[in-house]
Symmetry: C2
Subunit: 326 residues, 2 copies
Amino acid sequence: MAISFADVQAAAGRLAGKALATPLIESPALNARVGRRVLIKPETLQRVGAFKFRGAYNRLAQLSPAELRTGVVAFSSGNHAQGVALAAQLLGAPALIVMPSDAPAVKLEATRAYGAEIRLYDRLSDDRAAIAAEIAQARGALVVPSYDDPHIIAGQGTVGLELVRQAQDLGAELDVVVTPIGGGGLMGGVATAVKALSPGTALVGAEPEGYDDTLRSLQAGRRLTLKPAVRTLCDALESPAPGELTFPILMRTLADVAVVSDAEVAEAMRVAFATLKLVVEPGGAAGLAALLAGKVKAGRDGAVGLVLSGGNVDPGVFARIIGGEA
Amino acid sequence: MAISFADVQAAAGRLAGKALATPLIESPALNARVGRRVLIKPETLQRVGAFKFRGAYNRLAQLSPAELRTGVVAFSSGNHAQGVALAAQLLGAPALIVMPSDAPAVKLEATRAYGAEIRLYDRLSDDRAAIAAEIAQARGALVVPSYDDPHIIAGQGTVGLELVRQAQDLGAELDVVVTPIGGGGLMGGVATAVKALSPGTALVGAEPEGYDDTLRSLQAGRRLTLKPAVRTLCDALESPAPGELTFPILMRTLADVAVVSDAEVAEAMRVAFATLKLVVEPGGAAGLAALLAGKVKAGRDGAVGLVLSGGNVDPGVFARIIGGEA
């Protein structure tokens, strides 16, 4: 089921007064460094510290009173977990989240703080989807996917809707919009909004090395599932394949996907700290990493719309990275 | 020479397109923690990472072509240094900044990067004002004070002008506005704007322990100069006395001054990191520290306008503080 721009607009209506309309900010120092105008959409400032609240709330707000009473189940390494937990809390629904035992502590704690029940699993040996499905069936609860759901995608699309309108308010023409890509929910929604409002704007995704499943799938013309042999700093982007719903959107809309290394991501986090004064988590900095590394090739001369998608990073990891370690 | 709201408005005109109109942001999680609505003005996102660019640019933009050619001299522990250096660079004027040898490295480097010449002095033995005056006289250059100047105060006042208007756009009533206080330039300007636009709003300053010269002066009814026996985490707020020009404004407008400890400032920096995803330097977090510590007593029920005044902090210091050390 494809989503349309009308779905994104409807999501924006549901999110009004619930999600924050994050500002569009600019740093002349970053512009000078990159050599072009960069308009930054800091979803780090969104509720739960990441864009994920938008999709989760848009999904849960459409449940019936009976469905809300039975509650929801989700599996997530952290940001979707928090998004679902907060949305469920606001709507009075019980939530159980299946999370990897090695998820960042800050994400585990926050999810718990939003009142969700947490079930840990072992990332290497357990099948989290199966665990979630089993729990959901036992409870009669609904599984809320982290990206492969039209309402989730439409909710994330409100990031793109706001970005284009805020850029227009500044009189800026967006040559290209850059977002990180995990399962493609954010980019799927953003691309839907951007192509509707500003058809000439190119879309460029950013994936971490070892998790370039979207790039490879686009090159192959079909969804490929990677068996990643490495870990990445970008815990939020460790999806092995693009989604069934997101991939066709990305096929139709993406100009390019940049693949970034851990070292490039760490450098982007340092630039965000020192120049932007923003706390950005590794996965959230993937687009900035691509831009700083000169890997955003599309639409070279005009303004870049850059989504910093999340800021949930353990203090110890952040301290290590801004201290200069990769 | 007192400043008027018209001076702040004129400064806003000069700063249009030069300084950033920083957004007014809100964190439902912080609101819940504090128990009231907090509207955050993150001057951390301002050019040079602090509000100081506003006043410096407003001052330098009023120099004659001949004065710009001769250039400017300033003394500052860091943020005013950067503000003057960037304003001078934008206006094509040479700048020499007298900085303490123990200023944060990040502030020294940034000031140099904006093209300024730097003269180091020893905080314990040298008289920086005398050094600056001597250099200025030798060069025929103008000394740009860091707070005790009507154009500097008026420039900083644009923070308050924007804050009140942005709060009005949100339909929020500001019960109280909180800013850190060093020499009083920021609060002097902010108070001038806030009292003109929203007379019922209370103003509360925040000073670090050992540098509560403004509080003591207000209590004494005259400017007192402290001989601080201690250091503070808040390098940006180490002024021993309120200014000649700023003090009368503060006398007339302030409801209260909260005094915060290093531990409270460090905790505020951790909250800014974990909850707001903002990098705030110690001095910039003094107002947030006061709020979190329950030390903002005025206007208890409505919205708080909170200025986070700067984000220039060495990575090592930041890492140590978010790692849990005070």
